[in-house]
Amino acid sequence: MDFEEIGLVAGLEIHQQLDTACKLFCGCPTRIRPVEEHNGEFYRYLRATVSEMGTIDRAAEEEMKHIRRFRYLAYDSTCLVENDDEPPLPLNGEALEIALQISRSFGMTPIEQVHVMRKLVIDGSNTSGFQRTALVAVGGVLPNGGRVESICLEEEAAQRVEDACFSLDRLGIPLVEITTSPCLYTPEAVQETAAYIGMVLRSTGRVKRGIGTIRQDLNVSIRDGARVEIKGVQELDLLAEVVRREVRRQQELLAIRDELRSRRASVDEEPIEVTGLFRESGSAILKRAKVVLAVRLRGFAGLVGREIQPGRRFGSELSDYAKRCGVGGIFHTDELPAYGVTTEEVQALRAAVAAGEQDAVVIVAADSTKALCAIRQVIRRARLAFECVPEETRRMLEGGSSAYMRPLPGAARMYPETDVLSVTITPERWASVQAPELLVDRAERYVREYALSPATADQLVHSSMLPLFDRAVAAGVPPALAARTVLSTMKELSRDGVAIEAVGEEQVLAVLAGVRDGRAAKEAVPDLLQAIAGGATVEEALASLAPVVDPGDLRALVERVVQERISFVQERKMGALGPLMGVVMAEVRGSVDGKYLSELLRKALREALE
């Protein structure tokens, strides 16, 4: 597909959790907890508040269609700030420092006086009903010529456990939000840019790693389409596919629009109650429903069932809108008879709303308030189909398609956080902020300075073991040994069932220091780590596995081994080196460097043969 031809424009919003000691506005640790460890819970309702213009934000209003009672789980690692029962503490200085470092990496300019705002979010994921966020820097550049518009420091939302239940351990963890300008014109460019930004973020060494710690939101539009925000893409590799699927969705919606216009289609103003038609229905949902409402979509036949993304039909879009009112979904005549609904019932339904063959009928079943709310949402979305692709916030579904969440929020959702003082970033403070060495640059340096292979260097800088490697090298451990230990040895031991996670960083460093000091051979590292994983102390492991051998003793040992096997040596000449190495290594039990030992043995052999 020629994406330039269709006018694809995309931008990225990347949210990355920071690895700080404390949360953004309280002293709680930034630790995720298993849900079953919660030690308290409470219930709240949230309601949209009126903005300064006397209006309610359109995204917030949509959430209010279905008032829900939210349940929150608290832990011994959360406090009254997460409960929205205590004012926030001042903005976390460590988090601001990291945000400034990242700003420096992108060549941005910090805001002179940073103000914390409240962004209205009433889907339950914030106990307060808003997310605290502050604009920290603007005006960055990307290597491909695109721009980083802004960096914001935000508090992470609570994790949804299920439906209307949220876990408070994640609420308040600091995160940076990096927003690019709409400067990406192909799906591949989106994915590459996200990868680059991720690399810059990890270069600080102060961001969280693992599933869910980085999330990409996408803004996508095509010519004649609309800006659509797709939230929560967690896998980098899916980004390009998400873009491609959104492009297809917008193209299909435009095609449906043109078809509706040429068919002179229309949507009825008012729903018609058809509860009675389904009293004996084979569909349990329809039979049990207090109220069933129907609306005729004139000229829509075949279009409601038309696929617009893999696994998604235009009917899915109508259904998403209806679900905002708390109903489970909709039925429509493009997919009926099915689900227990008979041909006769479909005919009766068509008759009841005077629908012809060219028309589609959508029905919803629920109590009267929900059903009315839901059918009105269907009417609203069906009408939008004549005009345009609606501007929406959507959430990614497995595989890369997306479902409607709410309208794009307006400017009415942001107001000052009056409980937090502004922070001034003085020129002196900004001058002291250093950009971290980028991981790509660091990999090059490792090749240059440590003579590591490019592949090893690349693997190292993207490894979570990088800090351990750096500490080992700083302590004088040969880089190749440090790299092999953290990248291969530990992984292999783990694969072989050794409880390597029980070995702490300090212990790994102590083992490597033992090798550095000649107390053990590098060949002994796996055995030493295994012994420590099994419960031995570092000293015990070194003592039992790698007894210290005096250089004089060692020479004597080598000569003894050669003399004991002198006939074998005379027979094989220097070819005896390999087999005798095994014998000598077994005697010293790995306490001596193999290369050194092999030199000694070679010399002893030569002397014996002379």
Partner: protein, 410 residues
């Protein structure tokens, strides 16, 4: 040319040009609300005026009140329960027409009709005994005019003082309900809606006394109805900060069902005739004793009509302080002893220091909370200076402040 809040401006941050609305000045910076909604502080030299702002239109909303519902009066003293944030300056302002309140708490219109009266617009730490008197008169007047109940919106810091003051000054045949909110009204999670709804439900209920109605738990599940003379704010920030001390709440309002359940002890609607005695002696003090306190501090209160001491344990102060308190009493100051334990009864007949205090003329404050004893002392001294009468009144229960029996559960 100076900027006026609301002006359209352009500003530069580094090489980035941004546009927005001028809000205010903060610490030498111009605060600009960017079009994205974010506020930033910018050096004034980098901000230029684009266009004069137009004053924001005040949205008006017609509120329809149902004439078939009972009428309640809302008397506002400046609590944040119906406050609204000025988005341009970030300041919180109290809004107080009936329409404002019904807009802030939409469910109210289903419970009653409302008339409103703004008594003050102050933070409750600025409350004064003179305002308690005005409050009592205002509440008395609307009850005399026939409302079914009164809601007093109040900052939470000193709400229990005001509620106690009204309980001593006013006998009411209808509910008088104090209510406030712990979390600001501009936030979607504010407790103002649930507290307001529950207060209105209590105000149309079968209650007939002065109460405080606030969150009963950290959840949005029910409000507790507290007797005005037994309630205390026991937490700085939690929603359920208000607790009845040494007694259970006299009722609950479930939310969102609005079901009111009253304990047997709750005074019922119509039990007492309407009467007001708003006399008050404001020259009274409250002093918390602590180990090593300089006895000379007591002299600060010389010339006062009354002094409540929050003593230790059963109601004690150091031996060195007793003599000074005796001198105060001799000079005509009424001194009442309460306990900083808050729970339990004052008894100055057990230890020597206690007996010495009684000999010095200090009155035992029984089970009264220190601040409730203070408010009561103001009322009593406003009515009489007869020593015997003062002692009798301070030790007799007037409005539930003195428990006849001390409950055995803590």
């Amino acid at each position: 040319m100076g900027l006026i809040p609301g002006d359209r401006v352009a500003c530069t941050v580094g090489t980035t040009e941004l546009s927005g609305t001028y809000i205010t000045d903060r610490d030498g910076m111009h605060v600009v609300k960017l079009d994205s909604g974010y506020n930033i502080g910018v050096d004034p030299r980098r901000v230029i005026l684009l266009e004069r702002g137009r004053p924001a239109e005040q949205p008006d909303m017609d509120v329809v009140q149902d004439p078939s519902l009972p009428e309640l009066a809302i008397i506002s003293t400046g609590g944040t329960i119906a406050s609204r944030i000025d988005y341009r300056t970030g300041a919180v302002t109290s809004q107080f027409t009936a329409a404002d309140i019904l807009r802030a708490i939409p469910g109210l219109a289903e419970i009653a009709r409302f008339r409103t009266h703004v008594l003050a617009t102050i933070l409750s730490e600025n409350m004064t005994p003179a305002l308690w008197q005005e409050m009592a008169r205002a509440v008395h007047d609307v009850i005399a005019e026939g409302v079914a109940g009164v809601i007093v919106t109040h900052g939470t810091d000193t709400m229990s003082y005001s509620a106690a003051a009204l309980a001593f000054m006013l006998q009411s045949p209808v509910p008088v309900v104090f209510v406030g909110s712990q979390r600001s009204a501009d936030r979607p999670s504010s407790d103002n809606v649930m507290n307001g709804i529950c207060a209105a439900a209590a105000a149309v209920s079968e209650l007939g006394e002065v109460t405080v109605v606030m969150h009963g738990t950290p959840s949005d599940d029910r409000c507790a109805i507290h007797r005005a003379t037994r309630v205390r704010k026991l937490h700085t920030s939690r929603r359920d900060a208000f607790r009845s001390v040494e007694s259970a709440p006299i009722g609950y309002v479930d939310y969102p069902s609005r079901t009111v359940s009253l304990a047997d002890e709750a005074v019922r609607r119509g039990t007492r005739p309407l009467s007001l005695d708003d006399r008050l002696e404001p020259e009274c003090g409250l002093l918390q004793f602590y180990p090593g306190m300089d006895p000379a501090l007591i002299d600060v209160f010389s010339g006062y009509a009354g002094l409540v001491v929050a003593g230790t344990g059963l109601g004690h102060v150091s031996t060195a302080c007793i003599e000074r308190l005796g001198a105060l009493v001799d000079a005509g100051t009424t001194v009442v002893m309460t306990s900083q334990c808050l729970y339990g009864r004052v008894c100055d007949r057990v230890y020597d220091t206690g007996r010495d205090l009684l000999a010095a003329g200090v009155i035992e404050g029984a089970t009264m909370l220190p601040e409730v004893a203070l408010v009561k002392l103001m009322c009593v001294l406003g009515r009489t200076r007869n020593r015997h009468e003062v002692v009798r009144l301070m030790q007799a229960d007037m409005a539930g402040e003195i428990l006849g029996r001390t409950p055995h559960g803590l």
